[in-house]
Amino acid sequence: MADLHTTNLCAEIISTHFGPLASKVASILLSRGRLTLPQLARFTSLKPRLVRNILLVLIQQNIVWHANSETDGSGEEVLEFNVEECLMRLHFGAFVYQAEELFGVAGGEIIQLVLDHGKLTSPRILQSLNAAATSFLPSEDKTPVVYSQALYKLVSLRYLKPSTVSSHISPRDKRIQYEAEEKAKISGFPTSKQLREAKETVDARFKMEEAETEKIGLKRKAKSQLPSTKKRKATSTKEDDGTVVDETVYFRVNFDKFNIHTRNALIEKAVQERYNPGAALVVRAILKITEETQHSVADIRSDPLSVSNIILHLNSEEDEATLTSGLIQSKSKSAGSCVKEYLGILSSADNPTPTGRAGAFLEFSSKGKGGGSGKVQVLFDVVARRLKRQVLEGVARERHGLEGVRVIRLLMDTGKLDEKQISKNVMMPLKDVRPLLSALSASSLVSIIEVPKSADRNPTRMFYLWQVDIPKAFSHILNVLYKTLYNISARRQAEREDPTLVAVLNKRERSDVSVDVEGLLSQHEKEVLKAWEEKEQKLSILEGRVEESVFIVRELGRAVGSLED
């Protein structure tokens, strides 16, 4: 089940990708929760065969989970919607772009194919790509070897993760089942401590299962398949450790790993805005070197990295130029000392107060001998918190102007305050502060805490303290962002339904016109098409920009977790 805005957004995404019929099924599953097939058919008033078809499509694309509900004794199959997976569909373009940057055109095509189909086995991937490649003129980039190498890299670096039977079972049902098993082991009346232990065992079991699934995917090469020494020199060095992609395993895209790159780009941009390109270069080097060990966006900090390693990485000419130009120095210094200066600035070494530490990007870990040969870690949670705060302040500025931002900043820094103290600190008269506070509270950015002075809660004798409730504020902001995304999608749909455009699009879809677009469409029709494609692109770009804020609030929010003050 999901709230109104999430439901609308997910239904709209499904409608764009899978059609209005699938969207009907999705919206019923979202608004009513977990359902069996007959119930679903009844609520959607579609034919059961059609509903089965749609469900098979959605399960194949990992959007719907299923389970056998053993608990109510009927053993029927129930279906549940996977909201996160659906919302990730808006990022598919960014994933393919990232794969192209990292692994070349071949990698990008593999990721695109796997995203199209939900999940695929490696022979199937290679087969479709080689079939597509040979239909064009052969170029150096599209030989089968290139594709299989790219596939191996994607699997070994965990950009493609294996999809198992248990990943299709709804996690809520799994949790209920495991807890029931654990509780059955407790004899007699369970105490609260035993129940808590049962929950922890269940959590541990989940983590173990996840770790096991990660091991599938690569298997050791059989001895007969090891290539002869001549071929070994020609193939890439990565296959020396004797593993090869398992051909029976279905692979799907690991969104977490791609989100890491988005996060790193956001951090780099934040450093550049805060300091200068030199500092951004240093941070980019650190993040690139530690990329392989970063597994998920929920990591709190990166692995420690030695300073000498960073200096080694930044020894090209233009790097040196950027580094030295960014700092004002009494005498010209080498790149290495510049890097050390930047690291000192980025870690707020000169300002060890809490405010200074909250503005830091890195930290020197205490294991090293000191600044010279110490190790450095990027603090993901601190940066995430700051980025989220920027989003919150941005929203406040849009809706309530600069005064709203002043009040929000004051409340976030000082906790809970009475309205008189707020007006004194913010330097605004009380009659201005009051409507501002009620407007802020109407948009869920601040909330009230009532502290009674007397035993009876007489309103005239109570303290009303205002505070910024962070989880509430961010969940409201997230809802507003989802609503914005829905509006963009609805606008795209409305633009598409313009009658002249519909006629032109239908004409373009004709089998004879689609082959020869230039010749068979008139000038006016081509202009209409071009205008539509520009609009479509603008709306998609806008969607991408809103998605960036959604990413900060939702994904980076996981790294911060329960560390909110």
Binding site: R52, L56, H66, V96, V165, K431, S511, D512, S540
Partner: protein
């Protein structure tokens, strides 16, 4: 908190404009990276529209067939989901089988339904559950035989708790013996003849 009375009085009494002047936000120029990502995202929607994952329903159209229909895409041209493309263990078995084998598994599905109905019997009292479970398993066993014994089941269902054959009844104090028996027989009018026959062998004659 909020507005005081003085503030309200000080407010202007004119209506605010229906469309107050607004400066619409201006979109900054997109970078190359954003344009490329947007193209990729649009490409996904376009490819999915033509694939077997976009489900369409063919409806009967009352319009006259046209010449250009052969060039236009119709629901018939949409590719459909094939069994060979999907890995069966990932999907719920019922839905998978029912979609790809619509006719053949109808009988097997009925069998599963029967067994499921019999499961409800387990929620009754233990004694009755034991009996009915036994009969249920018998009935399930003779599944292939469509005309299982109606007489026998009927007796088992009704004999013990519904029909009162009046063996233990004492008609001595009844003026009209038919009253109680008619009451007993009238409980189940469909089987009136049977009960009547049964009664007449026992009780006295009555009108």
């Amino acid at each position: 908190m909020g507005l005081s009375f003085a503030d309200i009085q000080a407010m202007s009494r004119e209506a605010t404009a229906l469309y107050p002047p607004m400066r619409p936000p201006i979109m900054t120029e997109p970078t190359e990276k954003e344009k490329r990502i947007a193209q990729l995202q649009i490409g996904f929607a376009r490819r999915l529209r033509k694939s077997e994952y976009y489900v369409v329903e063919s409806t009967k159209s009352t319009e006259l067939p046209r010449y250009s229909d052969k060039y236009r895409s119709s629901p018939a041209f949409q590719p459909t989901l094939k069994r060979s493309d999907l890995h069966a263990p990932f999907f719920p078995t019922e839905i998978f089988e029912a979609y790809f084998n619509p006719r053949k598994k109808a009988k097997a599905r009925k069998q599963v339904d029967q067994k499921r109905k019999l499961n409800l019997d387990e929620m009754l009292d233990d004694n009755e559950a034991n009996e009915s479970a036994q009969e249920g398993s018998d009935a399930g066993g003779s599944q292939g035989d469509p005309d299982y014994d109606t007489e026998e089941e009927y007796d088992n269902d009704y004999a013990d708790n519904y029909f009162d054959n009046g063996e233990g009844e004492n008609f001595d104090d009844l003026g009209d013996g038919g009253g109680g028996d008619d009451g007993g027989g009238g409980k189940n009018p469909a089987h009136f003849y049977r009960t009547y026959k049964f009664m007449s062998s026992q009780g006295g004659d009555y009108d």
